[in-house]
């Protein structure tokens, strides 16, 4: 061991990560606490107020159908992040289990799973989500299943690669010789190595999922109106950008803040 390795650099303050966490917490706080402080219905229409500016009961003004943009935004910020979170949890669990199995068993299990993952990877993610949306009744369920199908591949590949490396290391060989069994080896050798990777991938995965839901909403093939959804809100308000710029900017800024926050939180892929 060279002497240099003994003196590691002082850890750089994770400014980016704290900033990312603050952004995500801020957006979540608005979505959760906002409707409690200023009660309102995201679907209630008042055509007289269409496109009018902010007021006490609607801090971000009204959209073209006279619905409170603030309350629609809060509802939208609850919807897609929740679907995204559910999809990432499912995909993460599936990727972790299948990746570990693949690395530990090798042979035909590994071949079959890797081929499947590669095949899915060759398909554009949004297309896969669209296919599932067409087959599954219920848009939210469709998004959840479709996004899980897209996202598990990355978890699987990372888990498989990292686990394979750990499993051939002397530390695992020593543990096996000492008589430790697979659950212990996973808990003490494999999981500590892949946990940081998993968290980073999860943050990226949530961002990807939110983006996918918004993108499909924006081209009218995702969530159906009148559901408040970020992409759908943007495309609905786009024709009125001159009359109600704030109404259009609010979902755009909220989406941007959320995605930036998640990306910063994920940090670099090297960690």
């Amino acid at each position: 061991m060279s002497t240099a390795e003994l003196y590691t650099q002082p850890a750089r303050l994770p400014v980016a990560r704290s900033l990312g966490a603050s952004l995500v917490i801020l957006v979540a706080a608005v979505a959760l606490i906002g409707p409690l402080l200023i009660p309102g219905d995201p679907l209630a229409q008042s055509l007289l107020k269409a496109l009018s500016g902010p007021e006490a009961t609607a801090p971000l003004g009204y959209d073209h159908l006279g619905r409170s943009v603030f309350h629609r935004l809060c509802a939208a910020l609850m919807l897609s992040p929740l679907i995204a979170l559910a999809a990432v949890l499912t995909a993460g669990a599936a990727g972790l289990i299948l990746g570990t199995l693949s690395a530990a068993m090798g042979g035909w299990v590994d071949t079959v799973l890797t081929t499947l993952a590669d095949a899915l990877l060759a398909l554009p993610g949004l297309l896969l989500v669209l296919i599932v949306l067409a087959m599954v009744p219920g848009t939210a369920t469709g998004f959840w299943i479709g996004l899980s199908l897209v996202l598990w591949v990355e978890f699987y590949r990372l888990t498989r690669a990292a686990t394979r490396e750990v499993l051939v290391s002397p530390s695992v060989e020593a543990a096996r010789l000492l008589g430790f069994r697979a659950p212990y080896i996973f808990r003490t050798h494999v999981w500590p190595e892949i946990a940081p990777l998993m968290l980073t991938t999860a943050a990226f995965g949530i961002a990807t999922a939110i983006m996918a839901i918004a993108a499909l909403g924006f081209v009218h093939v995702g969530m159906r109106a009148p559901t408040p959804e970020l992409g759908l809100m943007m495309v609905e308000l786009l024709p009125y950008w001159r009359e109600a710029p704030l109404a259009l900017l609010s979902p755009a800024i909220a989406t941007f803040a959320l995605l930036l926050g998640l990306t910063l939180l994920a940090g670099s892929r090297e960690t």
């Binding site: 061991m1 060279s2 002497t3 240099a4 003994l6 003196y7 650099q9 002082p10 290391s169 002397p170 530390s171 060989e173 020593a174 543990a175 010789l177 000492l178 008589g179 430790f180 212990y184 003490t188 050798h189 500590p192 190595e193």
Partner: protein, 481 residues
């Protein structure tokens, strides 16, 4: 005239002093050896002289390289001298060569970009350099097609291409066997010639002896002794230097045999192992007696570690049998690794790892006495593997293996990454364990002297097919190589 003079070099990490004021002079034609154990500050000193200290460490002092005078506190200003005035010989040449570039191209590149020759001149110089090193044919090869020694020579050619008069070799023989070590020493000496400067940083006493020249012995950032290498090595003034020299396996006294009578722990018969379609060895047979130390030695790549793995059942043999004594349980064979850091879970405290083992084997009560027996401080258990020295970690590996009450411990190059004093200590402990616990030790090392002075019986493993030795292990010790 001296090539390189460093005056009062110090290295600090915040308030902590890692290297106390050190001055040295490298004169042309005479190598300067910096000898010290791991953590003695010898690599830090080289980095301070080169201006390549890791971020966070501060150096002070004055460095004169040729006609340039620089301050060690301004590492940026050294950059212009790299390759042209002063160059570093990489530790492990295979890792420092570009795997995607032919050997000749790598040397040409250095001539062209560092020395600034035209493309044609650079190519001509590179091929003549390689020709002088006996590498004409190797110029068209990629690094993976070169042997270790050839890769080392290519790395030397590339390091020297910039025309640097001073070469710093940091542990040039790390991980090499005795024959290759001598080759490297001779090569360094011949490359230095009569007017080159050479600074060798090492813990390898055999290398130091072969290089000669001047020597500085370092310990914990302080200079212990300086003088001509020959004088220091034959008549050391300081107690520490004498301890360091005595730790050389060549000068160990032979350990008394400790093998016990009774059926052997393991009986190997007609064993052949192939890896990647290549037969490593065939027809190997021996047996290991309880309480005995059985040594296997040979040049790197001869398959001696694989032989040990085959005995443990980690590698499937192509032919032959490995028979354990009938009463030995499935976990009765344990292993010590060359790199003890890699043998522990990286992110877990050592105490937790040991407790897990002790709980599983029901030997919790033995941890404390074993710590004491192996001379380990209980505070080490609070740390993670990366924060403990190699020698301590190897002793903790021994402790961990003993918690299984093994019948045999396969020690795979257990001390090749340790300094001589620690090496002597760890090997001594292994011998003691064989004696007191009755555990058989299968000791694999490239260091023939170490094995010869430790083992009751030795199996020399070469590239040739071995004749089947007599079943009596003691007779194997005298088997012709």
């Amino acid at each position: 005239m001296s090539f390189l003079t460093a005056t009062d070099i110090t290295v600090r990490d915040g308030a902590q002093t890692l290297l106390e004021p050190l001055s040295l002079t490298v004169t042309p034609g005479e190598p300067l050896i910096i000898l010290g154990e791991t953590g003695s500050g010898k690599s830090l000193m080289a980095q301070a002289i080169m201006g390549t200290l890791p971020a966070g460490l501060r150096a002070q002092g004055e460095v004169r390289i040729g006609a340039h005078t620089l301050s060690a506190s301004e590492p940026r200003r050294f950059r212009g001298l790299w390759g042209r005035e002063i160059s570093v010989l990489p530790q492990e040449p295979w890792l420092s060569l570009d795997p995607l570039m032919r050997a000749g191209t790598q040397v040409t590149e250095a001539h062209r970009l560092v020395r600034g020759l035209s493309a044609a001149d650079a190519k001509a110089r590179a091929s003549s350099d390689l020709g002088q090193l006996g590498l004409t044919a190797a110029a068209r090869h990629y690094p993976h097609q070169l042997s270790g020694g050839m890769a080392q020579r290519v790395a030397i050619a590339a390091a020297r291409a910039g025309g640097a008069g001073i070469v710093i070799a940091d542990e040039p023989t790390k991980g090499l066997d005795a024959a290759r070590r001598d080759d490297v020493a001779d090569l360094l000496l011949s490359e230095m010639g009569d007017n080159g400067g050479l600074l060798v940083i090492t813990h390898d006493l055999a290398l130091a002896r072969r290089m000669g020249g001047q020597m500085i012995v370092l310990r914990q950032g302080k200079v212990v002794e300086t003088g001509a290498t020959e004088t220091v090595m034959s008549a050391a003034r300081e107690a520490y230097t004498r301890a360091l020299l005595a730790a050389d396996p060549e000068s160990w006294t032979r350990r008394a045999p400790s093998r016990r009578d009774g059926p052997p722990v393991v009986d190997v018969h007609g064993l052949s192992v192939a890896r990647g379609g290549r037969e490593l060895f065939s027809g190997v047979g021996f047996d290991v007696a309880a309480g005995g130390v059985f040594g296997i030695t040979g040049p790197s790549g001869c398959g001696k570690s694989t032989l040990g793995d085959a005995v443990l059942g980690l590698v499937a043999p192509a032919a032959g049998t490995v028979t354990r004594r009938a009463d030995i349980g499935p976990h009765g064979f344990q292993k010590l690794y060359q790199d003890p850091v890699a043998a522990f879970p990286r992110k877990r405290r050592l105490g937790e790892t040991l407790n897990d083992v002790a709980r599983m084997t029901g030997e919790s009560a033995r941890v404390a006495p074993l710590l004491e027996q192996l001379g380990l401080s209980p505070t080490l258990l609070e740390r993670r593997p990366g924060a403990v020295s190699g020698g301590e970690l190897q002793r903790l590996s021994i402790l961990r293996a003993l918690l299984r009450r093994p019948a045999l411990i396969f020690a795979d190059e257990p001390t090749s990454r340790l300094d001589p004093i620690t090496q002597a200590r760890v090997i001594g402990m292994l011998g003691e364990i064989a004696m007191t616990e009755g555990t058989a030790i299968l000791l694999v090392s490239h260091d023939a002297a170490l094995v010869r002075n430790t083992a009751d019986a030795v199996l020399p493993l070469g590239k040739t097919v071995l004749p089947e030795p007599q079943p009596d292990a003691a007779s194997v010790a005298t088997a012709p190589h």
